[in-house]
């Protein structure tokens, strides 16, 4: 956590990333020199570091080893923010639009999940998605049993004949869906905009070094521009990202189709300022609280969140997660 008092001005910054379709632009930008270009522009140095294990990347950020990290909205709330680390989400990169899904074997409707043993990474967005799915099906957690499964092993686990229900995200999800007799009965496309993929940074560092935030926004939207091009250059960029993710270009493209990328900063700003975000985060934190993720807290309000235009949720005196649209707005306004 931010153990040391906030550093004043810094020159070197590190952000951590892990493999996920919506985050592959970061390592690509590093490779393509986009990171260096924008860092140079603001006279700083940014390193983009891969962590193979997603949870470890967020833990390292929480421990203060990274200045920023790629993370899903729920994990940003439950890991750093709940741990007292004041964190700002400065880029809302995408929302999962089918990248997370509930899979069943030998059934094609969600109701059939009742009574099954469901394999998933507990306390992750998969768990949240399962909660939403059960809600939609009129079921509750009492109707299923869950087994915690590491995200690296869930593909192998699902190949075992005994396992007939799982929740996973991409790229694992697409591989699991490819197995014979497997049906996807629910996905994040059914709850659009609820599973957000963010870039978060340490608020104190950001306050002292606004240039860091500007550079990151610059990097992101330049990379977005390159990767959405439908020409050879865009294709090459996406192929490079596929390679970095260890996937084939086709697989990666198919993952992108289920990822709603906010390629346009204006759309991202709109999403951030929309009241729907508050609704989503209320759902997410209520779920997290119900699962005991706010350690020892008396109510779901223990962790405070701040939204654009001064709106807050929960304990306003202890805000540790801030949705900060200002840098995306600068990008939208061409002020970077």
């Amino acid at each position: 956590s931010g153990s040391a008092p906030p550093p004043a001005k810094k020159h070197d910054f590190t952000i951590g990333w892990s493999i996920y379709a919506g985050w592959m632009p970061w390592p690509y930008a590093q490779q393509a020199g986009i990171v260096k270009k924008w860092a140079d522009k603001y006279g700083i140095d940014i390193k983009v570091v891969q962590v193979n294990d997603y949870v470890e990347s967020v833990n390292q950020y929480t421990a203060g080893k990274f200045d920023g990290v790629t993370v899903a909205n729920m994990d940003a709330l439950t890991i750093p923010a709940a741990g007292g680390k004041d964190t700002s989400a400065i880029i809302i990169g995408d929302y999962s639009n089918g990248n997370d899904g509930v899979l069943l074997k030998g059934a094609d409707n969600l109701a059939a999940i009742k009574g099954r043993q469901v394999y998933l990474a507990e306390l992750s967005v998969s768990h949240y998605l399962l909660a939403r799915a059960l809600e939609k099906a009129g079921l509750s957690f009492a109707d299923v049993k869950t087994t915690n499964t590491s995200d690296a092993d869930i593909v192998g686990a699902f190949a075992s004949p005994q396992v007939n229900a799982a929740v996973a995200w991409n790229p694992q999800l697409s591989v699991m869906r490819g197995q014979a007799g497997v049906k996807q009965v629910f996905s994040s496309a059914d709850v659009p905009g609820e599973i957000l993929d963010l870039l978060v940074v340490d608020t104190a560092t950001l306050k002292a070094n606004p240039d860091f935030g500007k550079a990151l926004a610059g990097i992101w939207y330049e990379t977005m521009a390159v990767m959405q091009r439908q020409d050879a250059q865009g294709k090459a960029a996406r192929a490079a990202m596929a390679k970095l993710a260890g996937a084939s270009p086709e697989t990666f493209d198919s993952q992108l189709t289920t990822t709603y990328l906010y390629t346009d900063p204006k759309a991202a700003v709109a999403a951030t300022t929309s009241p729907a975000l508050v609704t989503t985060m209320t759902r997410v934190r209520d779920f997290s609280y119900s699962k005991g993720l706010f350690k020892g807290a008396a109510s779901a309000d223990a962790v405070g969140m701040a939204f654009p235009n001064g709106k807050t949720l929960g304990d306003a005196a202890h805000v540790t997660l801030r949705f900060d649209e200002s840098f995306m707005k600068m990008a939208a306004d061409g002020k970077l």
């Binding site: 956590s1 153990s3 949870v55 394999y119 507990e122 087994t147 915690n148 350690k295």
Partner: protein, 276 residues
């Protein structure tokens, strides 16, 4: 007096042994207090009070879903898996190691296979294990057994092969068959070494148990550790790890005492007195 000759009394020995451990604890408390001074919500080095609070729920409050006291349910599940894995590995080490060590044709046939299995990191082949054994406890127990048995087998086989040739010759001149030599000469002399090998395997066995429980599980010490790792709850992880260490030390001590008791001829007797 030369250091090599300084003998330490039991009491002194306890005091000296506690020294570095207490020093380490103090260092931890110091660092934790420092971090908490900077950030009272720090999760990485929790204070003892925080750990006590976090553990209270697990220790004494029944889980609303299952009605179990989670800590004890975890301990029970893990100990069961560990016990079965260790049991299978020990039995395999005894049987295969004995036969391998004493019968040259079997050694020639199975030695290379055991070596090959010993050097394959089982963690890397988990998917195959899942397909073959499913995801229930069987796979976790198999992971432990596969992880530690080859090392134990090689250890036992080496020990048996190192029995003085004169002993085997002597047994044959006394009319013992191969089977009788295995049963009455090699087996009993292997037992203390087997307990020793088991002691050395305890560390890796816990590692494999925790890795196995991290993969797919809904109860167990390793399950809990990896689950709460998701939100960096070191206030649960550290007490769990200490508990594991305590269990492991208890097993270690039990094995040492058991061996002394069951096989007095292999311990200490020879500290004094000359031998032919």
């Amino acid at each position: 007096m030369r250091w090599i000759n300084r003998s330490i009394s039991r009491k002194q020995s306890m005091a000296l042994g506690a020294l570095p451990i207490v020093a380490l604890l103090m260092l931890y408390l110091l660092l934790a207090a420092q971090r908490h001074a900077a950030n009272p919500m720090d999760k990485i080095l929790p204070l003892p009070s925080g750990m006590a609070q976090a553990m209270q729920a697990l220790l004494f409050q029944p889980d609303p879903l299952s009605g179990n006291l989670l800590f004890w349910a975890d301990t029970l599940a893990s100990l069961q898996r560990l016990g079965l894995g260790l049991g299978i590995a020990t039995a395999a080490a005894l049987l295969v190691g004995l036969v391998l060590g004493i019968l040259p044709p079997v050694r020639a046939t199975l030695g290379p296979l055991v070596t090959s299995i010993a050097v394959i990191p089982p963690i890397a082949l988990l998917p195959i294990l899942f397909i073959a054994l499913g995801l229930e406890d069987t796979a976790k127990i198999a992971l432990i057994a596969i992880g530690i048995a080859p090392v134990m087998i090689r250890d036992i086989a080496g020990h048996v092969a190192a029995l003085p040739r004169e002993q085997l010759v002597k047994a044959q001149t006394l009319g013992a068959s191969t089977w009788q030599i295995m049963l009455r000469v090699a087996l009993p002399q292997t037992m203390p070494r087997l307990l020793e090998a088991l002691r050395l395997a305890l560390g890796p066995a816990w590692v494999f148990l925790i890795s196995g429980e991290a993969i797919a599980s809904d109860v167990g010490l390793g399950y809990r550790i990896f689950l709460v790792r998701r939100y960096l709850s070191m206030d649960v992880i550290i007490p769990y790890v200490l508990w594991i260490a305590l269990l492991a030390i208890a097993m270690d001590v039990a094995l040492v005492l058991g061996s002394r008791r069951l096989f007095p001829w292999a311990h200490g007797l020879e500290a004094k007195g000359d031998k032919a």
